[in-house]
Symmetry: C2
Subunit: 170 residues, 2 copies
């Protein structure tokens, strides 16, 4: 659609205004509808560079626009997606031991869990991490799948993590 301010393009402002007037592209509207209807958002991905792969980061950048996910002074506990839960479930290349040497994996989760989900008012369940599935035995891989199946069965009884700096950097 048309630009709100064609003199000085500002991506954040344009998506905010487009959201307000129902002018976002169809794929974004569909993704937002899924988010709106969900009680729990599970993000499943391979960890690339201690972070989400770019394509998933692009989903966050495009879908979680101002007005929909947060707004002026509506962030963190006041975020617009309050009442929802999220869970980051991912596989790594390196082993748990390798991560442990340098302070563990939790500090890397601060931007995604706190910076994105918590910012939008979404509470966060304990992440589900499968360390180095490509380097372990077939049997170990099956155990990983079984553990995930088991966890899903009682996921609704879990309490969110305490999304504080202590959890991440203790």
């Amino acid at each position: 659609g048309h630009l709100h301010n064609s003199e000085a393009f500002n991506y954040g402002v344009e998506t905010w205004k487009a959201y307000k007037r129902g002018g976002l592209s169809k794929d974004l509207v569909e993704e937002q509808k899924k988010v709106q209807e969900a009680d729990l958002l599970i993000f499943q991905f391979p960890l690339f560079w201690f972070n989400m792969p770019a394509i998933l980061k692009g989903w966050m950048d495009r879908v979680l626009v101002q007005g929909f996910a947060y707004d002026l002074s509506k962030a963190y506990d006041g975020g617009l997606l309050q009442g929802k839960l999220s869970l980051f479930s991912f596989t790594t290349g390196g082993s748990q031991e390798k991560y442990a040497i340098r302070g563990g994996i939790r500090p890397f989760l601060w931007p995604m869990q706190h910076g994105i989900m918590h910012f939008c008012g979404v509470k966060v369940l304990e992440p589900h991490i499968c360390y180095a599935p490509e380097r372990v035995s077939e049997e170990k891989r099956k155990e990983m799948l079984t553990a995930w199946t088991q966890r899903l069965k009682t996921l609704w009884k879990e309490e969110p993590i305490d999304c504080s700096p202590e959890w991440y950097f203790k």
Copy 2:
């Protein structure tokens, strides 16, 4: 080109093997050449969700392949891009005061500076942060540009930061 293992596709392995046999796509080879020739890598971007925008994360995901940027047991101080410097220069939406309330901006830099650059053996200069340029006066914005110009003049005399957990999470 052809796949190294067409039975079980593994992105990391395929790009590693493609790099080894000179089979990466032309745009990646060109980007890697730029990195190879550079003494200093400056990444300039607007902070999106306390992180790089997806398109820049995609650059990291695609360009910094195994064999080129790191290798088995060649990471961190042994990373393959040793001898280079990097600098993350970015603008934010929120003010410095807003960041200060929740532990500041440094913890968000751990994945990019430590997890990517330091992992590849690249040392990191103090980040250059322009807080909320869209919310300050024209005069303030000009001061920001002047400060950046000034900094660039003596950048070569700067020492890298101590890339330790203390710098990020103190």
